[in-house]
Symmetry: C2
Subunit: 355 residues, 2 copies
């Protein structure tokens, strides 16, 4: 197959980790006989500096002409005092909205060996394997009115029934491919939008009699993620709850540096990026963990290109490197050898070529 | 001194734990020569059953004529399918709003011995000592428009500058009495209300040059509560973020069953209640942990009545009972003897009388 990928390295370690991810992608191309064309564009702080906009029109055009997007990370101290339309994360919000990337998928899985890096007890996290499905283009992020005066401010949490339906269906579909359980998170005891959310979930459930469903209030969910994280299979929730809970979930297994994410559209087009940020403090030093970006490529192959085997190859290669006792500086553990970004990447490629 | 207290036991274990708390209150009265008058009223499910309203007018009158309110817990499966105006938690929301109880204070502190019940590693939680200050009468909970149709729903996150100012001041004042640090949590990279929030916090900071301040985005805060909870002293945030983060924080030290809370008004009038819920599954069995309700009484003495010594006596008594190796069934640990609700209460009173 032939695919064109828009690569937006962004800021900080975004550059190094996408470079690693692309090396792995090309290794997959060689091994499975695919051609991946790569076009690089600007986003975030870099785009502000060079083009005066966090998501320049050139970048949008580049993405329009691609089959998927790979993103590094955006942001950095340098732009933190900018007016809000000139902030790096505006690029991220704008690209999600422009391409209607409504479904944000965030897998969190305990990796044997690595879980000793977790702040939680091994027993609590050892069988964690969940997928958080966050609605990404609605709710408080985009609702109008949204304004501030000297004396007050307002944001609006608005959802249409269709917006809820499509993300909830996505969650049920994903659950069928996993352990068959959906936990829907809302605040139905307070919010009208959550009441509608719960209603839609109940109604969609009728189409999925084989999937188990439960509802959890967002405050209870924030507790259960800590006290009993292995109870979750697929978690589905609205945009802001998803922002909070997926970040909370990302630290429980001690493997933040290796968590990928996908933000996809109804037709399978998607944007793939590591969960971690741009980490300007370690940028350019060869210290960054490329695993999250590499695993984001695996998600791209699986969710946008239907290349399941290729995706599994990458995942297995990454996990093998850990099993062989290698890690990067963010996951230092007893008995592990710490590798640089490029050394780690080479090990992954070696594994891929050996498989 | 003479004080009148409105006691609203509510549902489930609310009844047993307020009974315990009142016994301790009377012991304090004997010891320090105060007279505490107690008037009992209905709230929540019980009030719905007996009066057809989760917060009957009688109860409001009773509270109006009191110096403070002690609440047990509300809710239970029995009322879960009720229409929303006949749900127990509506009583809680209504009483907060009616009495303008804008400042919700939730201390979370690691208790030596007890932290082995934590899902987190001892090292991570052993020096946790924070106070979450949650705005309680604004934001998405009460903003208009707030409505649902078949095709969509809307909630409104609205804050006036004054609403933000008073809670932020409260946080700075509390920090002065503690370790002198405030962490303000918002989502200023996305929400207009958070931009105003941050602006107000910065401006108030000028009045408190002695207090250290930092800002954290809500998603980052959800992570830090797990990876580095001891970095927090006073955490201040808006209503819904506070709901989520305070519940998250409540499980990190393994001592949910002993966490109290205060919801106070500008003049010091307040409502005091355990953080835990009504736990209908264990109600009436003598299994409930009364510590949270007892420590809520301590907060009442401190924050509403200015009885600092009396409050400390209660806290010390409760902690001594744990130190002596007793606990309730929710905190079972190696080497601890499990007591019933009333046995635990008796131990606390014995300690109080011995001090
Ligand atoms: C940078 C920010 C706007 C963004 C969000 O809140 O969605 C980020 O936290 C994320 O989760 O991707
Ligand atoms: C019962 C519910 C409405 C309430 C809230 O969301 O405020 C509860 O979760 C709390 O934190 O006191």
């Amino acid at each position: 197959m032939e695919k064109t990928i828009a690569v937006l390295p962004g800021d900080g370690i975004g550059k190094e980790v996408t470079e690693s991810a692309l090396k792995v992608l090309q290794a997959i191309g060689r091994r499975y006989n695919h051609r991946y064309h790569v076009n690089t564009g600007l986003i975030g702080g870099d785009a502000i500096d060079q083009k005066g906009h966090p998501l320049p029109q050139d970048t949008i055009d580049l993405c329009e002409n691609s089959d998927a997007i790979l993103l590094g990370a955006v942001g950095g101290l340098k732009w933190d005092q900018n007016p809000s339309h000139l902030r790096p994360e505006k690029g991220l919000l704008a690209i999600r909205k422009h391409f209607d990337l409504f479904a944000n998928l965030r897998p969190v899985k305990a990796i044997p060996g690595i879980i000793s890096a977790s702040p939680l007890k091994e027993d609590v996290v050892k069988s964690v394997d969940m997928m958080i499905v966050r609605e990404l283009t609605g709710g408080l992020y985009f609702g109008e009115p949204k304004r501030k005066t000297d004396n007050g401010a307002v944001d609006t949490l608005v959802y249409s029934r269709e917006e809820i339906e499509r993300i909830v269906e996505k969650a049920f579909e994903l659950a069928r491919l996993r352990r068959g359980k959906v936990t829907s998170v809302d605040k139905a005891n307070v919010l009208e939008s959550s009441k509608l959310w719960r209603e839609v979930v109940e109604q969609k459930k009728l189409k999925y009699p084989d999937v188990e469903l439960d509802h959890l209030l967002v405050d209870a969910a924030a507790m259960k993620l800590i006290t009993n994280p292995s109870m979750f299979d697929v978690v589905v929730t609205e945009n802001l709850f998803g922002d909070i809970l997926s970040d909370e979930a990302s630290v429980i297994t001690g493997s933040l540096g290796m968590l990928p994410s996908a933000s996809i559209r109804a037709d399978g087009f998607g944007l793939y990026e590591p969960v971690h940020g741009s980490a300007p403090d370690i940028a350019g030093k060869g210290l960054a963990n490329p695993a999250a970006a590499i695993l984001s490529v695996a998600m791209m192959l699986k969710y946008s290109f239907g290349m399941e085997t290729e995706a599994s190859s990458i995942e297995e290669a990454v996990f093998s490197v850990y099993e062989d006792g290698y890690c990067t500086s963010d996951m230092k553990q007893d008995g592990y050898r710490v590798l640089s970004t490029s050394e780690f990447t080479e090990k992954v490629i070696e594994e891929l070529e050996r498989e």
